[in-house]
């Protein structure tokens, strides 16, 4: 009985945080990609990425005097392994450092501005010209797409913020199908475009990151639509590659504005919610959570001091419109 109790509580601890699922799934995808899809990355490079990401997280945690939590760093590291390609070990290491350090350095009101992996990749592409992303590496196997969608669905549902994923994919599908209908293209073309593994990975594992999306549900809807339009425009109007990544990086800059107009509660990994403004900030001070929670509390209090407590769905946007 005692053993069962211990096992049960270990399992509960393991499943309590959606990041454990993410780590397992991203890790599984990496193994699958290396074994079955000939991903252009070696095991050594993957290991170097993960180790560098963890070391950077440890170092930054010391410097910023926060508790070391390897989980987010592992997720960022695994995402880098899945996406970033380069000929040089030097850039592998630099990319991992930039990715993790961006979380600590590029902050606004206690919240990091960019999805770390997204920032790492975009910054490296802009700054070095020595890295690339292969959106075609996943192929278009329908079953694989389906599998990824299911697995990703599990993650985002548990992250309690699947709204951003759903809003994004609905908007993106509407644009891709809309363009094909306008151009008299057969439906096999937009379906082929949407069956892309790169799109699924982005939709379920990157844009869904609850720590970098707007706090309120309405804000996330606007954000998702913005990213979808940007990605579509870059890919199908400007004819450039990696529209998804560029669009997310650009849209991330608008998040502080969206949060200011449509405030909501900051996401907490151990207490997933959809982002209502709370009646009282009791849960934000949850002990043992991520280091950002204290900052989140600070940001929350600051907001309420300067703007007054607001109900979900209302907020400054309404008042701005009224005035």
């Amino acid at each position: 009985m005692a053993t069962r109790g211990t096992t049960g509580s270990a399992f509960r601890r393991l499943t309590a945080d959606p990041r454990h699922y993410q780590i397992a799934i991203l890790g599984g995808l990496l193994v699958y990609g290396l074994a079955a899809l000939d991903f252009d990355i070696t095991g050594v490079r993957a290991a170097a990425t993960l180790v560098t990401a963890l070391l950077t997280q440890a170092l930054c945690s010391t410097l910023w005097k926060t508790r070391f939590d390897p989980r987010s760093a592992l997720i960022s590291g695994l995402s880098l392994c899945l996406l970033l390609r380069t000929n040089s070990m030097k850039w592998v290491v630099v990319a991992a450092v930039v990715t993790i350090a961006s979380k600590f350095i590029l902050r606004f009101r206690g919240k990091h501005i960019f999805n770390p992996t997204n920032f790492g990749i975009v910054a490296m592409m802009l700054a070095t010209g020595e890295v690339w992303v292969s959106p075609g590496q996943w192929g278009n196997f329908a079953f694989f797409g389906f599998l990824m969608a299911c697995l990703g669905g599990v993650v985002v549902n548990r992250a309690a913020r699947s709204d951003v994923t759903i809003a994004f994919i609905v908007a993106y599908m509407a644009l891709v199908f809309g363009r094909s209908i306008y151009l008299y293209e057969p439906m096999t073309i937009p379906i082929h475009r949407l069956e892309s593994g790169a799109l699924l990975l982005f939709t379920f594992f990157m844009i869904s990151d609850p720590r970098t999306t707007p706090d309120s549900r309405a804000g996330r809807m606007i954000f998702a639509a913005l990213v979808a339009w940007g990605a579509w425009h870059i890919t199908f109007r400007m004819f450039r590659t990696n529209g998804l990544l560029w669009a997310l990086a650009l849209a991330a800059i608008t998040v502080p504005v969206i949060d200011w107009l449509l405030p909501g509660s900051r996401y907490n990994w151990s207490r997933p919610d959809i982002g209502h403004s709370p009646a009282a900030p009791d849960h934000l001070g949850h002990e043992g959570g991520t280091p950002n929670e204290t900052e989140a509390l600070g940001a929350y209090l600051t907001r309420n001091r300067s703007h007054g407590l607001v109900r979900p769905g209302s907020g400054r946007l309404l008042r701005l419109l009224r005035s």
């Binding site: 000929n87 020595e130 292969s134 075609g136 192929g139 151009l183 008299y184 096999t188 004819f239 590659t241």
Partner: protein, 432 residues
């Protein structure tokens, strides 16, 4: 010694018959020179019918000027093909009783050439919504640049003007019209052809500025009789090119295979390509070669000379390139990277046009298959005994490797291998 595979060849536009001839649109080769937004596209095909039956329709992003269209040289394409072709290399095992020795490798040469064109004519309008934006005679080709407002009008116009358009073409043409693309239509001017004295059709080269780095393949599938072969050679400044909307896969390379393959390399390569395409569910684009044009190792053919590169449209070469060291095979380093992509495509597996991106990947890759001939000497030192004991396992390993690559029956391979080994041992006995 080096052997290059027979070109497995195919095309992005479609052939339209002017008479009711059955055309087998099977093999095309395309060179895409690209830097920034500028593309220089050289299109070649293995059309074997009557020249008067040949016609080609290719969507292009803008109305091309006369100076943006040239007739190129078949030798040039053949040289690119030879330089980048998958290759077979041979090694001869040394006498295990002596110190290890080197290996043998050789090279074969390639050629060059030139191309030019003729006059131009003014534009005309049409009630079907088709407008002849430009009209040129270039070399042996009569070329029209058409714009259209709707696809059935274009299809009717082409039919009225003697082009036999395959069924279903209008559906495909429509989306290109909606994207405001123009249509490059070429057919052979028989008078010019006989005057110029060319018996085979020369490749056509066009250039344009467009952010689109793509190749329209959908028209090519309209009158296709089964899957088609397309070889795309991209020449870029920075690095390897890959497709962004399909998986790009490097073919297996560097394997040791039984020496009997020497006499049937073409057959081996076709079988291997088919097997690998099947494993990728016929949805992949295959990289056969990705190499800095400055050199090759081993060389199936010399790298292209700066002059040949310019003829292909490589515009970023220095005007007076620094010559390489005397006697060196390599062309001067000019930041020219060649990628050879091989696609076998049909409608079911390749619903949309190929979209490319240039990567920062400068790692050289080549399709290279190794034949190792065993040592047949009569020495009986301990090393020779061990060596001979190891041979059967090696033969089996090579046979398994070949079966895995090609999907050939392992029993057949073992039999062919045994016959070949016996034949070679017999020759060795005779020599002794």
């Amino acid at each position: 010694m080096v052997w290059s595979a027979q070109a497995l060849v195919a095309f992005c536009g479609f052939y339209v018959a002017k008479v009711d001839a059955r055309l087998f649109n099977q093999a095309s080769q395309v060179v895409l020179v690209r830097d920034g937004d500028r593309t220089i596209l050289t299109m070649s095909n293995d059309f074997r019918g009557e020249p008067k039956e040949f016609a080609m329709v290719v969507p292009v992003p803008s109305v091309l000027r006369r100076d943006q269209i040239q007739v190129s040289d078949r030798d040039l394409l053949e040289h690119v093909d030879a330089y980048s072709a998958p290759r077979l290399v041979e090694y001869f095992d040394p006498n295990p009783c002596q110190a290890p020795r080197g290996r043998g490798a050789g090279a074969a040469g390639g050629g060059g050439g030139g191309g030019r064109g003729g006059g131009a004519a003014p534009a005309a309008e049409n009630s079907l919504g088709v407008k002849i934006e430009a009209q040129y005679t270039v070399g042996e080709y009569d070329i029209l640049i058409l714009s259209a407002v709707e696809s059935t009008g274009l299809e009717t116009w082409l039919r009225q003007n003697g082009y036999r358009i395959p069924r279903g073409a209008a559906d495909v043409l429509a989306s290109y019209i909606m994207q405001n693309m123009k249509f490059f239509v070429a057919r052979v001017n028989l008078e010019q052809q006989s005057r110029l004295g060319f018996t085979s059709l020369r490749p056509i080269r066009v250039e344009f500025d467009s952010p689109k780095f793509m190749l329209p393949i959908r028209l090519g599938m309209v009158n296709a009789d089964g899957p088609q072969e397309l070889l795309v050679y991209t020449v870029t400044r920075q690095g390897r090119v890959e497709t962004t909307n399909y998986r790009t896969v490097k073919l297996p390379t560097g394997m040791d295979i039984p020496p009997f393959v020497r006499g049937r390399f073409g057959e081996f390569y076709k079988a291997m390509f088919s097997e690998q395409a099947k494993r990728a569910e016929n949805r992949a684009v295959f990289t056969e070669y990705a190499w800095d044009m400055g050199f090759c190792d081993p060389c199936a053919a010399n790298p292209l000379s700066p002059d040949e590169l310019r003829k292909l449209g490589v515009f970023w070469l220095a005007d007076t390139p620094a010559a390489g060291p005397r006697g060196q095979l390599a062309a001067p380093r000019q930041q020219v990277f060649l990628t050879r992509l091989h696609v076998r495509y049909d409608n079911a597996h390749f619903p949309e046009d190929l979209v490319f991106q240039q990567t920062a990947d400068r790692q050289n890759y080549q399709g290279r298959y190794v034949l190792r001939y065993p040592w047949n000497g009569g020495d009986s030192c301990a090393a020779a005994v061990t060596y001979r004991q190891g041979l059967p396992a090696r033969y089996e390993r090579e046979a398994q490797q070949l079966a895995d690559l090609t999907g050939w029956n392992i029993g057949d391979i073992r039999r062919w291998n045994t016959d070949d080994i016996r034949r070679r041992m017999g020759i060795a006995e005779l020599v002794r």
